[in-house]
Amino acid sequence: MKLSSGTLRLIIPAVSLALLLAAVFYMQPRAMSYTGLNLLFNLAVPIALATVAQMLIMAVNDLDLSMGTFVSFCACVTATFLQASPAMGVLIFLGAIAAYAAMGMIIHVRELPSIVVTLGMSFFWGGLAVLMLPSPGGEAPGWVRWLMTSKPPFVPMAIVASVVIAAVTHFLIMRSSFGVLIRGVGGNFRSVERAGWSVIRIRAATYALAALFAVLSGIALVGLTTSADANIALRYTLLSIAGVILGGGEFVGGRVSPIGAVIGALTLALAGSFLSFMRISPDWQIGAQGAILIVVLALRLFLNRLERREKIQ
């Protein structure tokens, strides 16, 4: 059987996740249960949503350095406005999505580097979040709490949610014509332009879609933590970028993989649990996370080489 390069691209992240999961099960066999899996992957849902959002931005060759602060902002809105007056909360989210679309347009029209514009926006979202919740607080809306803590039969919520996210985004990015346009802009925006499409509209729509996923990430996060804080998701910026890369995505060329991105996010979430099972001293927890990242990427390089050697023969 011949494997397409897209499938091969997926195998590597999937294998890394399986290996890490096997190591966790080996060290802590009790994790091999409904509750165990739920605990292991619980925090993966918001990370997966943020990773998908980052993946969309990376699909059009941009990078969003404000992802962490934006998800924090969305979490604060969820815990305050969305809880107290849902209509107002939805209105704020729509405004934020519109702001992202406008940012995409500005970046395109003025040919600005996305890294810098999003860097500036990260201060903006951070400021808004601090204004809303100067100290940790707020409360999760009942339905969000219910959704995130619900217990479907046989498979934990975290796994169900991850599969749904992967399926929906896979359909959206890899199977729909809009997805082809997004990846086309990343690959060669001039040829998309010459084919008669409005690249500025595609970019604006991509940014808006990314903002929607980031909003969902903030809502999901508050559903798990029950309250919010202006700094709650700051590490999501780097986690989301690492998740996309771990999942086989590239920085340029519109080469992304939605299923891979979700798997990458799960791997990162699992790495944290793995380290606490290893009883590594807290001093070295962050360092070990960096080491895992390096090992997984080395594995990917090794498998890529193997693949290339097979092609030559």
């Binding site: 003025r110 890294i115 201060f123 400021g127 001093d283 962050i286 960096g290 390096i294």
Partner: protein, 315 residues
């Protein structure tokens, strides 16, 4: 007639225009009482941003995707280890500095080894590296907060003819960096690589060696900055480098260095560093809360980029 026009065509002029505007606004608000203190504080704090900014600028000049995210962790580890080694003894100051430089060299080589051997994008390679470095710093920072040697502490906090000593050090480093960038073959090489790596390789430029040296240079400058900052603030803290991640990138870009690489300038880094400090102190003087201050900082950064960016597209 020709001089002003020549001046206006420089990409760094806008950061200085913005800086002077903000300075005047702040001084006017306080009735001119704070002009000397404000300028000295601005020079001092800008100096630290300038030192890390120069290193980051060299890396960014290498072209798209090149960025060093390990700057804050490197600063923290360097400050921690150097203060630990010096152990409040004045005789060890030079040894401490040498340790910082050595540490920067090693970390720079480590960064580039990851990029080259594992073929990871620099953003991820330096990120993974920074995790490990940060952990080492946490491990090394255990126990009491160590004070810097007396002589070093007073050197970093005092000034010569009204100019803070750290600003003089930053100025000297900028001069060296300018010579490297504009007058040496190495500077031409990194610009060439930034403009087209393929073409640079074809003309026989040692691309890998040049990139290695650049990542080393960035890590060494971050180390020196960490050494100075730890001495200035009376000890190393684990979060002392945190704000310099965004700051090092922001000053490079606001200063007019092309983010796509291949074109850099050093005066702009000074303008942008002074500007970033003055904006925050201006908003402080007006008594804004933390939230509004952040929002306005973000909006001002974007406004400056919008003004500067329009000029680039017409060129």
């Amino acid at each position: 007639m020709n001089a002003p026009r020549l001046l206006l065509s420089k990409p760094w002029i806008w950061s200085f225009v913005a800086t002077i505007t903000v300075w005047i606004i702040t001084v006017l608000f306080t009735g001119g009482a704070s002009s000397l203190g404000l300028s000295q504080a601005a020079l001092t704090f800008a100096a630290f941003s300038v030192i890390v900014g120069i290193g980051q600028m060299f890396v960014i000049t290498l072209g798209p995707g090149n960025i060093d995210l390990s700057v804050p962790a490197t600063m923290t580890l360097s400050g921690t280890l150097a203060l630990k080694l010096m152990d409040v003894q004045d005789s060890m100051i030079v040894v401490g500095l040498l340790l910082s430089v050595l540490l920067g060299t090693v970390l720079g080589i480590g960064n580039y080894a990851l990029i080259k051997l594992l073929r990871i994008p620099p953003i991820i390679a330096t990120l993974s590296m920074s995790f490990i470095v940060q952990s080492t710093a946490i491990w090394a920072n255990r126990g009491l907060r160590i004070k810097p040697p007396e002589v070093l502490a007073s050197f970093t906090t005092s000034s010569l003819f009204g100019i803070p000593n750290v600003a003089i050090v930053a100025l000297a480093l900028s001069a060296i960096a300018w010579l490297l960038l504009e007058k040496s073959i190495y500077g031409r090489w990194i610009s060439a690589i930034g403009q087209s790596t393929f073409a640079a390789r074809m003309t026989g430029i040692p691309v890998d060696g040049t990139r290695l040296v650049t990542y080393m240079l960035c890590a060494v400058l971050a180390s020196i900055c960490g050494y100075l900052l730890a001495s200035f603030s009376g000890g190393a803290a684990l979060n002392m480098g945190a704000e310099y991640l965004l700051m090092s990138i922001a000053v490079v870009v606001i200063g007019g260095t092309a983010v796509a690489g291949g074109n850099s300038n050093i005066p702009g880094i000074w303008g942008a560093s002074l500007f970033m400090f003055l904006v925050v102190s201006m908003l402080n003087t007006y008594g804004f809360g933390a939230g509004f201050r952040l929002i306005l900082t973000g909006l001002i950064i974007i406004a400056v980029i919008l003004m500067a960016g329009g000029r680039q597209s017409t060129r």
